[in-house]
């Protein structure tokens, strides 16, 4: 039983922010780095703490650690916006994910030799604070606000530390994501206004809508806004083209945090907010969503991934493809489907972060992301190869890694929804194996290519050092832990989903 004398959620947000501010105020580099360790470790520790003590917490309206901080707008006649923090079974897994991936990304960033490391760390810390905030927020406005807070550093990091095409990529990502965010913001406002709730507090919204569900047309319209708005953010086909480009150009830590955690914002929003509050809207749009996800994300993007020749593009597109499963899980509208999506989100977050991390480590040894110019790296760097293989197998859903549970539960849930879509979705299992193993083989196995031999002669590649290994180990350990012990996440998740989905499901007659 935890009896912390402070609010772990607030600290998880405030400490990285405070460190970022301290760095911005001109802390010397050495101290900046030392403090950055604190800034990245604190959220992870808080997240782990909440994870382990979650079951013992007293829950108010299904939320543990519920605390309210005034913003001046939460008064009697106010808009009811306040910084309300709390965790339920849906947000807990993602909070943990954010903490862990943040720590890994932070450690990886600290060891990197990025130019202007201080600013890089500062931005990363701001992003980290935003990520923790997104999943800890019970208030819808702050949920959105923290997302944007985390988003801005992404743009800047892509713009400054990105690859060759960074300028265009940063711009495209910015505009796409802003458009998505704006659409979803309007959707959230619509939800607030149409429900007549006195506040943006999700608990209040739930209570009010449970008592008086929204009309069907209203639900359909709002759900459309949220679906396409969040859909852009989560790279729903065909609104996904920003993702591979952006990830291809983003510096590793930014890509890890964005693809790993921030991208889950939209899915989280759909599961935590849209589905329970708009059951009819969800039912109305589920066919569109499922069709787009299955045919677009899984099949088309799956095939496109096979055609990629750049390692980061493979990872980027594969990430888009896996989001298809998540959308399919959401389209099912069931506890099982939504739970599967949450599991998949956590698993995918960890694995894709690991893949981006390793891709960068590979780049430092091959000086290229072109698959055709690599080969035989495993002979020089067996540990790196082992990590990459593990990450690849995790991402293609091998049992023992967390991803498997997510995919499996989504498939099981999906069968009830549509046999045909299930078959399409499961065919993705083969597709992902094809491109995943192809990439691993091209990079690591077989004899070295001429191009790589030349590079290797100039810069003899060394194996992963401890400073690279540690963040990778954190992610891999988490993947395996959840892979072997899914209950650690699924038990609170199941309880919350039951509570959240019970009432509206009854209403919609499902």
């Amino acid at each position: 039983m935890s009896n912390l004398p402070f609010d772990p959620l607030l600290l998880a947000i405030a400490i990285p922010l405070a460190v970022a501010v301290a760095i911005a105020c001109g802390l010397p580099k050495r101290w900046s780095i030392r403090l950055a360790y604190v800034g990245f470790a604190a959220p992870a520790l808080m997240a782990l703490h909440t994870w382990f003590y979650f079951a013992g917490q007293t829950q108010v309206h299904g939320y543990a650690y519920l605390t309210n901080y005034s913003t001046g707008l939460d008064g009697i006649d106010g808009l009811g916006i306040s910084l309300k923090l709390g965790l339920n079974g849906i947000s807990l897994p993602l909070f943990v994910l954010a903490g862990l991936v943040g720590l890994a990304a932070g450690l990886y960033a600290i060891q990197s030799t990025a130019e202007r490391l201080k600013i890089y760390l500062m931005l990363l810390l701001v992003m980290q604070a935003g990520l923790m905030g997104v999943f800890a927020s019970v208030d819808v406005v702050f949920f959105y606000l923290f997302h944007e807070l985390a988003l801005i550093p992404t743009f800047i990091m892509i713009g400054i530390w990105g690859g060759r095409d960074r300028s265009y990529a940063a711009m495209k990502v910015t505009i796409y994501l802003t458009a998505g965010a704006m659409l979803s913001l309007i959707g959230l406002i619509a939800l607030y206004v149409k429900s007549g709730a006195p506040s943006f507090d999700l608990i209040t919204l739930r209570q009010i809508i449970a008592a008086r569900p929204l009309g069907e047309t209203v639900q359909n319209n709002i759900f459309a806004l949220l679906m396409f708005g969040f859909g852009i953010l989560v790279s729903l086909w065909p609104l996904h083209t920003w993702a591979p480009l952006g990830y291809g150009q983003a510096p590793s830590s930014a890509a890890m945090l964005h693809a790993g955690v921030l991208k889950k914002f939209g899915l989280y929003g759909l599961i935590q907010i849209a589905l329970p509050l708009l059951p009819h809207g969800a039912a109305h749009w589920s066919h569109t969503l499922a069709a787009l996800a299955a045919v677009g994300n899984v099949l088309i993007v799956g095939f496109i991934t096979m055609a990629q020749r750049d390692l980061k593009q493979v990872i980027g597109y594969s990430s888009v493809m896996h989001m298809g499963y998540a959308f399919l899980g959401i389209a099912c509208y069931s506890v099982l489907g939504a739970g599967g999506v949450v599991l998949l989100m956590v698993a995918h977050g960890l694995s894709v972060a690991l893949l981006f991390l390793l891709a960068t480590s590979i780049f430092h040894r091959t000086h290229t992301f072109e698959l055709t110019e690599m080969g035989g790296l495993a002979q020089k760097t067996p540990v790196l190869a082992a990590f990459f293989v593990a990450a690849t197998f995790a991402s293609i859903g091998l049992p023992g890694f967390a991803n498997f549970w997510g995919e499996l539960t989504i498939f099981v849930a999906l069968w009830q929804y549509s046999h045909c879509l299930t078959i399409i979705a499961i065919s993705g299992v083969v597709i992902s194996a094809v491109y995943g193993l192809r990439a691993a083989a091209k990079v690591f196995f077989g004899p070295p290519t001429e191009a790589f031999a030349r590079v290797a002669a100039q810069h003899p590649p060394s194996d992963l050092n401890w400073r690279e290994k540690l963040p990778a180990l954190i992610l891999l350990a988490a993947l395996l832990f959840i892979g072997f012990w899914p209950k650690s996440l699924s038990t609170p998740l199941d309880a919350t989903l039951h509570a959240v989905y019970a009432a509206p499901a009854a209403v919609s007659g499902k």
């Binding site: 911005a24 300028s167 802003t178 309007i186 406002i189």
Partner: protein
């Protein structure tokens, strides 16, 4: 009209109620007097005197010395001292203070007398404060013209520069034209409302309350509606609403940077306050007002965003993006027709806009060279490397203007959107989303120039951009406070928020 009735009228003259305006006027005069009295070497201290005076007034106002007059009329109905008026006094004083600070930077680059600049600034500020409290067309017009004529001078203040003079002339002619149109509208309304043949005609047709009563009694009077659109045209010029926005980029570019800031923030704020007051007065004509303002809002939003999209002169960019901000505010005004919370949203938006804009203009003044009209985005290359602080302030300011959380601009947009949604303005909201997305592009281009590109341009022509002014302690403090305030207001709305709540 005998002495006794005049005395009765004068009994209502509560001079204490307009103490801030009076003190501001006195300070302005004192500046001129001091310039004559003091030896020349002390003249450089006069701006500081002016700024300290404004600061003192600001404190005076914030401490609520005029709060006792809230919800009362004075000067026989010429002025109404509303809570909004109190808040807007703070707004204008703050704007004047910041314009003064930016002015010290910009004026230092010119060989021009400084004192008059502050003198006029103070007078115009006082006039603006009166303008937003006026409840009578005469008062309104006089205050408005005082503001406008003061601004003519300020816009063409750098009189050695032909561009500035050109801007001044353009502003003058178009401003005068719009004033004439406004005046003619007032005259028509006055004529109609005083017409004894109409029901509800009033003897004091210039008084807004009486006019409102008259309009409520005659909801479809042709002449009145013509008067209303003429008045609206005049106000639309002030707030730079489509299609009366066309002067904006030229004048903004030519005007000295602090004046541009003044135009962009204070003048626009005053315009919106007047618009709000008038919209309330004209509310019986909602059948006319609502579609006109809605279309105006949509067009303004889109035109501003599109115009700024490919702009590379930052002053013009600020102008055109300001036009799109006017669109957002107009959206609030439309929503205010049915949703009272929209008024609070507009005020909040204005404050957020003030903080963010002055942060940006402050950086602009520091980056600009002696040729004030020539401020290109490319001049910002490498700013983050040379001065991370300025880049940060710029990024926060632009981010807030773009409506990105956690800056105050986001909250402002959020409130406006909520109000608009409550009012059912779905079409406008759609346009607003498009506008926001487009605006992201140009704000981001600017940030990109400042943050991403290195200071040596691709052609190695590093001398192409003017030398930047080093950041002094005061400037740094002010800019830092602005940036901090922008972020703080985004996260914690506090007093302002509570004030909005109680609306």
């Amino acid at each position: 009209m005998d002495i006794a009735s005049l005395q009765t009228l004068a009994a209502n003259n509560d001079w204490l109620a307009i103490m801030p305006e009076l003190l501001l006027g006195c300070l302005a005069l004192a500046l001129l007097a001091l310039e004559i009295i003091l030896p020349a070497k002390l003249h450089s201290r006069l701006p500081a005197v002016a700024l300290l005076g404004v600061l003192a007034l600001l404190v005076f106002q914030l401490l609520g010395f005029t709060a006792g007059f809230v919800e009362s009329e004075s000067f026989n109905g010429l002025l109404v001292h509303s809570r909004e008026g109190q808040v807007m006094r703070v707004f204008f004083l703050l704007a004047a203070l910041l314009v003064g600070v930016i002015g010290t930077i910009s004026l230092a680059k010119q060989k021009l007398p400084h004192t008059e600049f502050y003198h006029i600034l103070l007078v115009v500020t006082a006039a603006m404060m009166l303008l937003v409290q006026s409840n009578h067309f005469v008062m309104l017009f006089v205050a408005l013209e005082t503001v406008t004529i003061g601004l003519y001078i300020l816009v063409s203040y750098f009189r050695s520069s032909p561009l500035t003079l050109e801007a001044g002339l353009k502003y003058l002619i178009m401003g005068a034209l719009s004033s004439s149109i406004l005046l003619f509208g007032i005259v028509l309304l006055y004529g109609v409302a005083g017409n004894p043949e109409l029901t509800g005609h009033t003897a004091s047709a210039m008084n807004l309350d009486s006019l409102h009563a008259f309009l409520a009694a005659n909801r479809h009077n042709f002449l009145a509606s013509v008067g209303i659109v003429l008045v609206l045209s005049g106000v639309a010029f002030k707030i730079a609403a489509f299609p009366f926005q066309i002067w904006v980029p030229d004048v903004y570019q030519g005007a000295p940077t602090p004046v541009t800031a003044f135009l962009a923030v204070a003048s626009k704020g005053a315009g919106f306050l007047v618009l709000l007051v008038l919209a309330r007065t004209f509310s019986p004509y909602a059948w006319l007002l609502a579609p006109v303002l809605t279309l105006m809002a949509a067009a303004t939003l889109l035109f501003g965003s599109l115009g700024a999209l490919t702009q590379h002169n930052v002053k013009r960019l600020m102008g055109l993006s300001g036009v799109s901000h006017a669109g957002f505010l107009l959206m609030g005004v439309v929503a205010a027709g049915t949703q009272s919370m929209a008024i609070g949203a507009i005020y909040f938006y204005l404050f957020a806009y003030l903080l963010a804009s002055f942060a940006v203009f402050g950086v602009m003044a520091l980056v600009a060279g002696p040729d004030d009209a020539d401020q290109e985005i490319s001049h910002y290359a490498g700013l983050a490397k040379d001065s991370p602080f300025l880049a940060l302030v710029l990024a926060i300011g632009l981010g807030s203007r773009a409506g990105i959380p956690p800056q105050a601009g986001f909250m402002g947009k959020l409130f406006i959107f909520i109000a608009a949604f409550k009012a059912g303005l779905y079409g406008l909201l759609t346009v607003a989303i498009v506008g926001v997305v487009i605006s992201i592009y140009y704000y981001f281009s600017w940030i990109r120039a400042a943050v991403f590109s290195s200071s040596t341009l691709p052609d190695g022509d590093a001398n192409a951009r003017p030398a930047r002014t080093p950041v002094s302690f005061t400037t740094g403090l002010v800019l830092g406070l602005l940036a901090f305030g922008t972020v703080l207001l985004g996260l914690y709305q506090g007093v302002l928020g509570q004030w909005l709540n109680t609306r």
